[in-house]
Each structure stands twice: as structure tokens, then as C-alpha cells.
Amino acid sequence: MFAGNLTLTVGDFRMASGDFAFESDGVTALFGRSGSGKSTLLRAMAGLDRHTRGRLRFHDEVWQDGRRGLPAEQRDIGMVFQHAALLAHRTVRGNLDFAARRAPTDRGAAIDRDQIIERTGIAPLLDRAVANLSGGERQRIAIARALIGRPRVLMMDEPLAALDWRAKAELLDLFETVIRDFGIPTVLITHAPAEVERLADRVVFMADGRVERVEALREALGRADSPLFTEEGPVASLEGHLEPVADDPHRLSFITRPRAATDMPVTLWLAHDGRPTNTGSRRLRVRGDDVALARGPVTGISVQNQVAGRIEHIETSRPGRAAVFLELADGQRLVSEVTAHTIDSMGLADGQSVTALIKGAALMG
């Protein structure tokens, strides 16, 4: 649990968060446009700027009270910066040792060092100098180093922003599995909605230097005016399990996780390029644009993923377009974006049962 109200002025920019409170378990995304104060709030929460004022509690520990703050070195935070911030005078192993030697023995996440190295895939890099590593490699080391320090909270400041798309995709997979499997409370700064949808459990929306609202991801994705929706329109995020399909390297199956015991899982088929991929617990991002609606199952059509759902509510998403939010058999939510004309001509209304047709190509494993 983080609760507080912090202010910090850096140059001309003033961050005044206002009162905020959010659970710390799982992944919390600090989301906002650049200049909205995300990084400033994170620095204030980490205790990195002595000009921070206000209040901050982490569970029942006081981290900031007026001018007085608990020193950053005593907060047990594992930090991953945008540019990794590795120690250039040490090898990769030396960087890990630096964290290990100063890690507490009586608290924080005790994860086996070899396991961290294996999961982050940095074993071949251990004896390298950090100067000539790629951006993706640097971030892998940064996250390994943060985990080895036995943090109680992991903080990441736009860790993917400086990477090319391939490294970004690989690290997103890594973060998704590592954060979940090791179960370390994480605060992630990002301005990319796709990262929020893949990783976050809740979203702290920031604008103009203050916290606008805190929402669970499900709520944040349940309204057409969500700041998470960009020009690509409304998006849904499904939780589930990714599995290979026997005899077909170009398909994967995604079995969604039911929200309640009475709910039924839904199976979706994904196109796959055959590359090795992280199967297991995953999230699937489905754009509303790629979901068409029908009154019932359709035969003789190329769309393979046909899923029954019930219309939760319909909202105008932009002029002439509407977002249709559907509840699936698994209790999770899917969204379809159609024209306002379609709503009228099909007579779609809340509570109706429909079939969602999801284009397979949209779901890359």
C-alpha cells in the first residue's frame, strides 16, 4: 500500500500529486503523457530528491513526513532506469556483485541468484564490460541487478522507451513473466498503453503534475474515454494461458482465465511465426477494430475465432463510431469498435447476446 501526497519542484516544473493511495501488490503503472510528472513522482517516491515535501507511507512505514524523508538507500527499492544506469567501471558480474554485497539478509525478496541470471538470460554476458552491450542486454542486466538487491518494491522508469521494437517485445515478455513469477510489487512508468495493457494491474493516471485518478486496469479499459485508448481505438486485455498446438508450429492456442469459479474459459487461436515464444501465463491485447459482431455464429467465413458474449454497454468512442463492451463466458471483457450506423441497423443494445468475430492475424503470439 502506497499512500501520500507529495510535491517536488524541478526547475520550472512543479509536481503536486494531490492525495493518492494504491495497493502495491502486482504491477502499478504510472501513466501519462510526457511532462505529466510521472518521473518526478517516482523520484519523489524513491526519495532521490531532497527537495521532496509532503507525506508518503509504504504500508505502515513512513517514507516522507514534511521535509524529512527516509534516505533512499534504506527504502529497499530495486530501480530500473530508462538507460539502465550500469556501473561502467565494473563488469556485468561486478554490477551484480555490487547489489548483492549490499542486499539485506533479513527482508525483501530472496530469489536465488542463479535463477535470476537464468531467467533474465544474461549468463553469457557475465564477464563482459558493460560498455559495449546492446540496449536490450543492458536492461536485462539492470533488472537482474535490481532483483539481486532483494527489493521490497521494484520501480521502473520507462525501461523500454530507448529500445528497438524487437528488444522491446522480448523484454516485455521477460517483464511479464519475471514480475509475475517472482511476485515483487512493481511501479512502472510508461507512456505506452500497450505496456500498461500487457503488464499493469492498476493504473495511476497523471496529468499536469498531479495524480488524476487511480483505477484497476479492468475499469480503465471499460470506458470509451480512457486515456489508454489512442488513435487505434478501444482495446481489451485478456488474461490467459498461451500454449503450442501439436503438429502446427504456426498456431498457438490461448485459453483465457475465468474470473469466477462459475465462469468458463474461452479458447482463441493465434497465428504464430514459429519463433520460440514464452508460452504460459500471458496477456493478450485485442484491438476493438479487429473485432466484428454478428447475431450468432457465422459459417463459411475466414474468421476462426468466434466467441459468444453479452453486451455490457455501448458508448460513443469517437464521432460516428461506437465501442461495444462485451462480457465473455470467462467473465473477462472484450471490446468491439463499430460504426454508429451498425448499432442502429443491427439494433444492438445492452444485455443482448452476440458473437464476436476476432481476426486471427490480429493476435500474434
Binding site: 524513491a46 538507500e73 549490499r102
Partner: protein, 230 residues
């Protein structure tokens, strides 16, 4: 000692090396913290302090030497101030005076390279070290100094070399007492004054070889550092 049949006084050489070594050590101890403080200073007084530290660069050595003689003569303010702590003795025209003069005169040669090294450090890296629970002293010795080693090396060598090459301040504060405060640069001046060109040649050659070897060494080490740090 004679070299090529020419008498070579070794005392000025040893004295010069001693003064330069001690000056470098003293400046590492006091110049590095000054450089750190200045590099982190956000106050508008910073320019004043920076200008003060750099004064010896632009002042004629005789000006600095003159003020030092005034301050350090047996009745001068510095001597009287030290007297409060039980100091008795003389500051000028001896080894102590030579070191004090050299330290002040070489201050900018240590502080400026260190300041630019400190200013070039990445804030993110220092923050990362803090969050890995490294307190200030830990951080200073395990992150800040190792990452600033190029500045440390350049500052130390410049200080040492500059002290070896000093003339005006050491002449005014130390005098030219044979076997006590006569440093190499003064000895050469002396020989030239007395038309002892052979001795002047020999000492000068020793200085040239020493200076050249030092600089080559520095550039070699410097190149290795840059390659390692990328």
C-alpha cells in the same frame, strides 16, 4: 655525483621530487573534496569560489609568493593563527613553506580536472548506487572516484608536473638556500647566472627527459582507460 664528467647536484632533484609528491598527496586530500563540493554547488556564490580556486592560473607567481611571505613570516597572520594551536617555528624559507606555496599554486590543476570529471558523472548511475543501499561514503569510494579516475589521474599528474616546473613561488617563499630549499628550476637559474652552462645543460636534460617520460606514461594510461570505459 658526476655524469659525463660534469658534477650533478642530486639534492635539488630529490627535494623537487619530494615537494611535488607531498603537494600531490595534500591536494588529493583537500582538492578532491573541494572539487566535489563545487561540482554539486547550486548557489550563485559558486562562480566566486570557482574564480578563487582558479586565481593562481592568472596571477603572476610573484604576486602569490609576495602575499604568502606576508602571511607566513614569523609575525604574519598565518603563523600567529597556527601559534594558537601550539605551533612554533618558521613557515617561510623551509620545506613547509615550499609545500604550502606549491599547494596553493597548483590548486586549480587538481580541482579543475576533478570538477569536470564529477560533473560528467551520470546522475542516474549515482541514484542507482544509492538505491542499492550505498551510503555517501560508500558511493564516493566505490562509484564516484572509480568513475572519475581519468580526472584523478590527469589532476595528479598536472599537479606533480606543475610543482616540478614551478619557479616564482618557490623562489619567493622558499628562497634559494643550497641543500635546503634550492629546487631544480632554481638551481638551473643559478647555474645560468654563474655561466655554468654544462651543469645547466645536464639538469635541464634531466628535466626534459623526466617530463617527457611522465607525459607519455599519462597518455598511455589515459588511452587504456578510455578504451575500457568506452
Amino acid at each position: 655525483m658526476t655524469l659525463f664528467g660534469i658534477p650533478l647536484e642530486t639534492h635539488p632533484i630529490w627535494l623537487t621530487l619530494q615537494v611535488a609528491t607531498i603537494t600531490t598527496i595534500v591536494l588529493l586530500v583537500i582538492g578532491v573534496p573541494i572539487a566535489w563540493g563545487l561540482s554539486r554547488m547550486r548557489s550563485r556564490w559558486r562562480v566566486v569560489f570557482e574564480a578563487l580556486v582558479s586565481l593562481p592560473l592568472v596571477l603572476p607567481p610573484t604576486v602569490l609568493g609576495f602575499y604568502l611571505i606576508i602571511a607566513m613570516n614569523p609575525n604574519g597572520p598565518l603563523t600567529e593563527f597556527l601559534g594558537l594551536f601550539g605551533f612554533s617555528g618558521q613557515l617561510t624559507f623551509n620545506f613547509t613553506g615550499l609545500v604550502i606555496g606549491s599547494v596553493l599554486f597548483s590548486l586549480p590543476f587538481m580541482v579543475q580536472p576533478m570538477m569536470s570529471a564529477f560533473q560528467g558523472l551520470s546522475e542516474e548511475v549515482l541514484d542507482a548506487a544509492r538505491l542499492m543501499r550505498a551510503g555517501f561514503v560508500d558511493r564516493f569510494f566505490s562509484v564516484i572516484l572509480p568513475l572519475s579516475r581519468q580526472g584523478l589521474l590527469v589532476g595528479s599528474v598536472l599537479t606533480f608536473a606543475h610543482t616540478v616546473g614551478e619557479f616564482g613561488v618557490v623562489l619567493m617563499v622558499g628562497g634559494n638556500i643550497e641543500g635546503q630549499t634550492r629546487m631544480v628550476s632554481i638551481a638551473i637559474f643559478d647555474h645560468v647566472e654563474s655561466f655554468e652552462y654544462a651543469q645547466a645543460h645536464l639538469l635541464s636534460a634531466v628535466m626534459v627527459i623526466f617530463a617527457f617520460a611522465t607525459l607519455v606514461g599519462v597518455y598511455l594510461i589515459n588511452r587504456r582507460f578510455s578504451a575500457r570505459l568506452g
